[in-house]
């Protein structure tokens, strides 16, 4: 494989292969950022992968009070799924269990989108007839009485079909500490990119996978080519000196958002240098057969 080098970090001439997804976004506000984030974090828990969780979700960005509809601090949360029905189902149950329940929360559409997804429309019945519908400024809200006042929730949010899931970067490092350091730098940089989320814990995944496995029914199994302990016994992608690999998976509102996120992550890890971080950066793909979005690392370099 041809490799490029930047600041001592080798960049594989490969690409991340990603898929079209359905996505939505909501804005959660609360009396304080802490409680807005709490609602958001709870809502996006157990949402790392559509395979096991039904959706992939995370906080996109925090929003200052001046940028939210009700002038309280908040954050924008994005949720991704493979189909509209899945997305609606996940949105409804997570909103009901995690946002409605969270102290002082309110919830608004975070995306214009091409079609509506129910927010308050599906939760209003919690009001048992006392819910209040309000339409103004071209928007529709529900006010549901709860024990600390009202849960204010926009009736719908938008759905986008232009979303992309599965952008990724692989950081190959000399040891675990350096791999983690590189990944953390990447996460911090990508968090600043609007419209892109990293659904795995802290944005990082260590159990990269390949499609299928030897056991029946396994949809995915360990990415043995990148598992350092197997370097000698399998057809490994790892080069000598690499003893740990961590991956960042990126879902974006648009393909551009994924590219921007990868670009930011690449830059951060390159800037960090091979001494403190990754020796080499790669990306995961399936040979280009499965996903229609290909992000070539060489095109994204600083």
């Amino acid at each position: 494989m041809q490799q490029l080098s930047r600041n001592g970090v080798l960049i594989d001439d490969t690409f991340a292969e990603a898929f079209g997804m359905r996505a939505t976004a909501i804005i959660i506000t609360a009396p304080t950022l802490k409680w807005a984030r709490q609602a958001a974090i709870t809502m996006t828990g157990y949402a790392t992968s559509v395979i096991g969780c039904g959706c992939e979700a995370a906080i996109d960005v925090d929003l200052p009070a001046s940028k939210t509809p009700d002038r309280r601090p908040g954050c924008r949360v994005m949720i991704f799924a493979m189909g509209t029905d899945d997305l609606q189902k996940q949105l409804k149950s997570r909103l009901g269990q995690c946002v409605l329940t969270s102290p002082g929360s309110a919830c608004f559409a975070g995306l214009e989108g091409t079609a509506p997804l129910d927010l308050g429309n599906s939760l209003r019945y919690f009001g048992d007839g006392w819910q209040i519908s309000k339409k103004f400024g071209g928007k529709h809200y529900w006010r549901v009485p709860v024990m600390d006042g009202e849960f204010l929730c926009e009736a719908t949010t938008g759905l986008t079909k232009l979303a992309v899931g599965g952008g990724n970067l692989l950081f190959l490092a000399a040891d675990n500490a350096k791999a983690l350091n590189a990944a953390e730098y990447a996460v911090a940089a990508i968090e600043k990119v609007a419209g892109a989320i990293m659904p795995f814990p802290g944005g990082i995944v260590r159990s990269g996978s390949k499609v299928g496995g030897k056991y029946k029914g396994m949809m995915a199994s360990t990415n043995d080519a990148f598992a350092p302990t197997l370097r000698g016994v399998v057809d490994s992608a790892l080069t000598p000196g690499v003893n740990a690999v961590l991956e960042i998976v990126i879902d974006g509102e648009t393909s551009d958002a994924v590219a921007a996120a990868m670009r930011a992550g690449l830059k951060a890890v390159i800037d960090l240098g091979s001494e403190k971080g990754a020796l080499r950066i790669s990306a995961g793909n399936y040979g280009g057969k499965l996903g229609k979005f290909h992000y070539h690392l060489k095109d994204l370099l600083p």
């Binding site: 009700d70 002038r71 002082g104 309110a106 519908s133 103004f136 600390d148 006042g149």
Partner: protein, 272 residues
Amino acid sequence: MKALTFSLLALPDERLDLSCLTPAALAGLTDVQIAKLRIGTSRNPALVGDVFRITGKDVNNIVFEGGSSRFDKVGAGLSAGSVRVMGDVGNQAGRRLSGGTLYVDGSAGTHAGSGMINGRLEIKGNAGDYLGGPLAGEITGMEGGLLIVRGKAADYAGDRLRRGTIAIFKGCGDYAGYRMIAGTIVITGRTGAMAGYLMKRGSLLLDRPPENLSPTFMPCGEPDIAFSRLFDRFLMDEKIMDKPLLGPKPGRYGGDTAVSGKGEVLFRQQHR
């Protein structure tokens, strides 16, 4: 292009039905054809040309130079474009307005904004009874849009409001929000007796504690709700108000319990 302008020649003896003078109705007509439209309502009804001098060409931008309390149904059915009246209007201004803007530089008679569906109607002066309300027999009032009265409104403002927002700045008479179905009425200044009588749902938003409510309105404390901030912001974004109306912890009454108790009166707390 200069606005299509109707300059009042002399005050008419009769009430005029000006519903035919909207952009959609006048599109494609020549000045001569317009001058021949019948607007009078008595036995020898006046034509447009008898009452107005017509100048300008831009049919999407209609201006009445001069007004009268006999100008009925100004901007009725307006769906796009702009109508401005530099004076008073009579009854049913902006009746079933569904888009565009109607601006009245003076005062309006009864039923201004009756059955509005969308769009914006702003009245600089006062409005008569039944602001936004239905005509006799109709069972829903305003169904959407923005209706702003910078002066006072008389009785039954927002009668059977179903959707949309009405804002009244210098107080109103009795029975504001009578039989409201939903929607929002903002009132600053004094509100007369029996506001919200028979309201089913909907919100009356006041800048002060209400007086003379029916005993079927129950105090509901002053919980902190996000809605008041959201709505305050809407009022300012739309340039309806220049400062917050309710603030974060408005007082609340629920009512009319004679009907269901699902409507509300929210008001700005005085001590804040």
